[in-house]
């Protein structure tokens, strides 16, 4: 059979194409049935005598396990001239212990069908081992060994530093990397959250002693928690964790100092000159609250409506209506002491100014009017629906549970999240938008692009600071 082709004429679309077989078509949109219950398996928590918390939950879709040791110190604990020390420590501990060489570690991980990796964020460093659940005890033992007994072999440290130096050089070619680095630097100023990138100097300053000191100061059972998610027997996991970590001595350590945030008045543009760039990489954002602030929920919802979902205002506007960009989005991220929101888009040079105009229009509109009706309900339903999806894998569930312990969220956060989102009122989402964007309208704008191609579009922005690709202040290109 051949599809029947109908040409549909309409006011807006004389040439519209419609390819349809109208017979038997189910025209009515099906109703959505009653919501099915969503329940996570219970979590079991014990504290070892040395102060380390162990949290275990079963997640049995596949016979695997995820073992994460989180150290409650991360990039914000880097000494000021040592950006990257926390991250490099997280990697260096995997490169040899008193019991195993780097190669032993890698071979053993591979043999357990696993992976071993470290991730350092502002407030924490996570060591994660994943593998077949039949090797749970072996994976826990391995994580304990790298966390407790790293040897920091000279040669391995040298290799790691070389890798970091090369990737730092490589990253500077990425306009998105440069935009993010400058955004964070100028938003957070002197606050430790300003640092997202290493420097040649800071990498060169890393050595065995520095790594050893960082490890000694922060890798402590009373500054850590172990999270095990998988097709496991909790009793066996507790036994393995007690055996592996029980001998780890605790030491008193001070909680990280809270540094007051700098404040920003007005909108400041930072233009990073990237000659011959064929797009402008744009970031716009501001400070927000810390992760366990009670307003987090309404701000998260406001960001979802603004640019946190595919069906968000900014995507509908500058992508689906105007075709300026492929992937506009807004990120809302909150840490232990503070957070930020950041809009990002890569747009062709000719629409750099118009993109900023639309972004600020959407921000001002959401602040002034908030959201209600179908849009608000849809965004709430989106976040409620996303939660079971996010927690359906071991890695996803581990990430959610990790945030509970990392940010001191209520223990029932995973159980109450959906109800809290559902209860948000139009008034609250408007308040959330104002808290998100900043009531004073303060903003940091970073543009990485070619000044000559876009300067005419930016005439209305008087306060522009020019930077070169490495972030050094410079004069306006061509002047």
């Amino acid at each position: 059979m051949i599809r029947r082709v109908l040409s549909v004429a309409s006011v807006s679309a004389v040439l519209a194409v419609s390819c349809a077989a109208p017979t038997f078509a189910q025209t009515e949109r099906p109703a959505v049935g009653a919501e099915r219950p969503f329940q996570l398996a219970p979590r079991l928590e014990r504290t070892l005598p040395n102060g380390m918390r162990v949290i275990v939950t079963r997640q049995t879709v596949v016979p695997k396990v995820s073992v994460t040791l989180t150290i409650l110190s991360g990039l914000a604990s880097d000494p000021p001239n040592m950006a990257g020390l926390a991250a490099i420590t997280g990697e260096a501990i995997q490169e040899g212990t008193k019991l195993r060489t780097s190669q032993d570690i890698r071979r053993q991980v591979f043999g357990m069908g696993g992976s071993l990796s470290a991730a350092a964020s502002q407030d924490y460093t996570s060591i994660t081992a994943r593998g077949l659940s039949e090797f749970s005890a072996g994976l826990i033992d391995l994580v304990a060994d790298v966390a407790m007994n790293p040897a920091f072999p000279e040669q391995e440290v040298a290799i790691l530093k070389q890798q970091h130096l090369q990737s730092l050089e490589q990253q500077q070619a990425s306009p998105q990397f440069v935009a993010n680095r400058e955004f964070r630097a100028h938003l957070f100023g002197e606050h430790p959250y300003a640092r997202v990138s290493e420097t040649v100097e800071s990498i060169n300053a890393v050595n065995r002693e520095r790594l050893g000191t960082f490890h000694h100061d922060y890798y402590r059972p009373n500054n850590a928690f172990l999270l095990v998610v998988g097709a496991i027997d909790p009793d066996q996991v507790f036994a393995a964790a007690t055996k592996a970590f029980g001998g780890w001595p605790k030491v008193a350590n001070e909680p990280p100092k809270s540094v007051p945030q700098p404040s920003i008045e007005g909108r400041h543009v930072y233009f990073v000159q990237r000659p011959n760039s064929i797009q402008s990489s744009i970031s716009v954002g501001n400070f927000t609250v810390k992760r366990n602030d009670p307003r987090w929920y309404e701000m998260y919802l406001a960001n979802t409506i603004f640019g946190g979902a595919f069906n968000s205002r900014i995507v509908r506007n500058i992508r689906e209506d105007k075709g300026y960009t492929y992937s506009p989005s807004s990120l809302f991220q909150a840490f232990r002491q503070a957070g930020f929101y950041k809009f990002d888009a890569d747009v062709r040079n000719e629409v750099t100014g118009p993109t900023l105009t639309e972004v600020f229009k959407e921000i001002d509109k959401l602040r002034a009017e908030g959201s209600d009706g179908a849009e608000l309900n849809g965004a709430k339903q989106y976040l409620r629906g996303l939660f079971p999806y996010q927690t359906s894998s071991q890695a996803g569930l581990a990430a959610v549970l990790n945030s509970v312990y990392l940010f001191n969220l209520p223990k029932d956060y995973p159980e109450t999240f959906r109800a809290k989102i559902a209860a948000i009122t139009p008034e609250q989402v408007k308040a959330g938008a104002n808290a998100l964007f900043g009531s004073g309208g303060g903003s940091v704008v970073v543009i990485v692009g070619d000044w000559a191609k876009v300067k005419d579009q930016l005439a209305e922005y008087k306060d522009i600071t020019f930077l070169d690709i490495s972030g050094k202040k410079t004069t306006a290109p061509g002047e």
């Binding site: 290493e198 069906n311 339903q381």
Partner: protein
């Protein structure tokens, strides 16, 4: 944040997809006995329907995979298969422009589509109570597509920006997955610019859209996969109801996509205006999918380039210290060992030290490969590779709310007419011996079968050393 580690993580992610499957016979217990439930039937109009139940979370995946990818897109319309994928979100008979996205998001779901060598997929992950809504949305756009000139123009702009952000404005310009096939292959179908020349993307017309839809977007050229919190009966009933009346349509004869064997090594050097450090990508033509050599190389892959334990990582980064990152795989950057159906490359990328040349890297690679060709791999390595592949499969199965499982089932249904291969392919991997791996390495991983692109910064910028 940290590229070397990020790249290593990417490498693991790609390999998770790339390895996909493996079953060590020596193993006992949960891992060895794990089975993916699979139900399969065809509707009278030729639509393949696959169901895989899993009730752990109240979510379902609805995926439709069409057997049309960028490989056989029209010759004067590079990038068209991908542009067309965008058109599938621009409106159908009962769903307005972008309404598909709005309906899915507002009902608690996420969605996406992607274009690959031999297929294009579309999927939603929805709360399970919205299953019928998701199936209705897919059926409506399989039955009817409504595109206006404005919507086509809008998406031509969006796709042009996508090409700029992912290729033209990026260092390396995606050379390892987009550039390399263009150099390694000689048949246009395998060797053109899949993302598209901007001028050809801009030149697409509504007539092109209509013709492509009429030709390839038919039920007998597609598979519907539903996984998650539902039942086989429910899905089959709804498939019948929503898709059963969509008419089938004879497909054009498939073009000749065969790739003549390569007989001499090909090396290219490309100056890169944006990159600040050099990288080399190289690829070997692979044996045909599902043949004994294919399975042998599938098992070698995790040992050769799977993770930090692999031979290439240990040699290039640890022993010789000539590189900062190494990664690779079958169908690299776009998929895994199983989700394609035609000539394919086994691709590697090495980010190497700026004081060296790509040829220095290839020399070390050849030494590593030569070791395998001469001495083979050990029984213990083979056993571990099988454990690793099984573990990687599990990771794929639970990823993205079950989308990983759905996508693999779809590929096996579409290309092999047998979605249960998700279980039985283990047996074929299990048969592979260390001698098979050695023989396959001897035959396929040879310079004459290899193409490389050495991507060198145009300006030496220094630093990093």
């Amino acid at each position: 944040m940290l590229k070397s580690r990020v790249m290593r993580q990417c490498l693991i992610v790609l390999c998770l997809a790339a390895l996909a499957i493996g079953a060590p016979s020596a193993q006992t217990g949960a891992a060895a006995s794990y089975k993916v439930p699979v139900a399969y039937r065809k509707l009278p109009n030729g639509l393949r329907v696959v169901v895989s139940e899993s009730h752990a979370s109240p979510i379902v995946v609805v995926e439709v995979m069409y057997r049309i990818g960028f490989r056989i897109e029209p010759k004067n319309r590079t990038g068209f298969a991908h542009l067309f994928e965008h058109m599938m979100f621009q409106g159908s008979e009962h769903v307005g422009k972008f309404e598909h996205v709005r309906i899915v998001n507002e009902n608690g779901g996420i969605l996406n589509g992607s274009t690959r060598f031999d297929h294009t997929n579309y999927f939603e992950v929805m709360p399970s109570n919205a299953l019928e809504l998701g199936m209705w949305l897919e059926a409506d756009r399989m039955r009817s597509l409504k595109i206006t000139p404005e919507n086509l123009k809008n998406q031509q702009n969006v796709v042009s920006e996508e090409v700029r952000v992912n290729v033209l404005n990026q260092p390396y310009a995606a050379f390892e997955w987009l550039g390399l096939p263009q150099k390694a292959n000689t048949n246009w179908y395998n060797a053109h610019n899949f993302y598209g020349d901007l001028s050809e993307i801009e030149a697409a017309t509504l007539e092109d859209v209509k013709k492509f839809f009429d030709t390839y977007y038919v039920p007998n050229n597609a598979v519907l996969v539903v996984t998650g919190d539902t039942t086989v009966d429910e899905v089959m009933r709804l498939a019948e109801k929503h898709f059963g009346s969509i008419p089938q349509h004879a497909l054009p004869p498939p073009p000749d996509i065969s790739e003549p064997p390569q007989t001499a090594e090909k090396t290219f050097t490309e100056p890169d205006k944006l990159a600040r450090t050099p990288a080399i990508a190289f690829g070997y033509h692979l044996p045909e999918r599902m043949t004994p050599d294919f399975f042998a190389l599938s098992l070698l892959d995790p040992l050769l380039v799977g993770d930090e334990s692999s031979k290439l990582y240990q040699t290039l980064i640890k022993d010789k210290q000539i590189a900062a990152a190494v990664s690779g795989g079958f169908n690299y950057g776009l998929g895994n060992n199983f989700d394609y159906n035609g000539p394919m490359l086994y691709t590697f990328r090495v980010d190497y030290r700026p004081d060296l040349k790509g040829a220095d890297v290839l020399k070390v690679v050849d030494d590593v490969v030569s070791g395998i060709q001469q001495k083979g791999i050990t029984e213990e390595e083979l056993r571990q590779a099988k454990v690793n592949m099984r573990s990687s499969l599990f990771e794929t199965l639970e990823s993205q709310g079950g989308f990983g499982r759905a996508d693999l089932l779809a590929a096996f249904a579409l290309y092999d007419d047998d979605p249960n291969r998700i279980n039985t392919v283990f047996a074929q991997l299990e048969k592979v011996t260390a001698a098979d791996v050695q023989a396959a390495a001897k035959k396929w991983l040879v310079p004459a079968n290899r193409t490389s692109i050495d991507r060198v910064p145009e300006k030496k910028t220094g630093g990093g050393q």
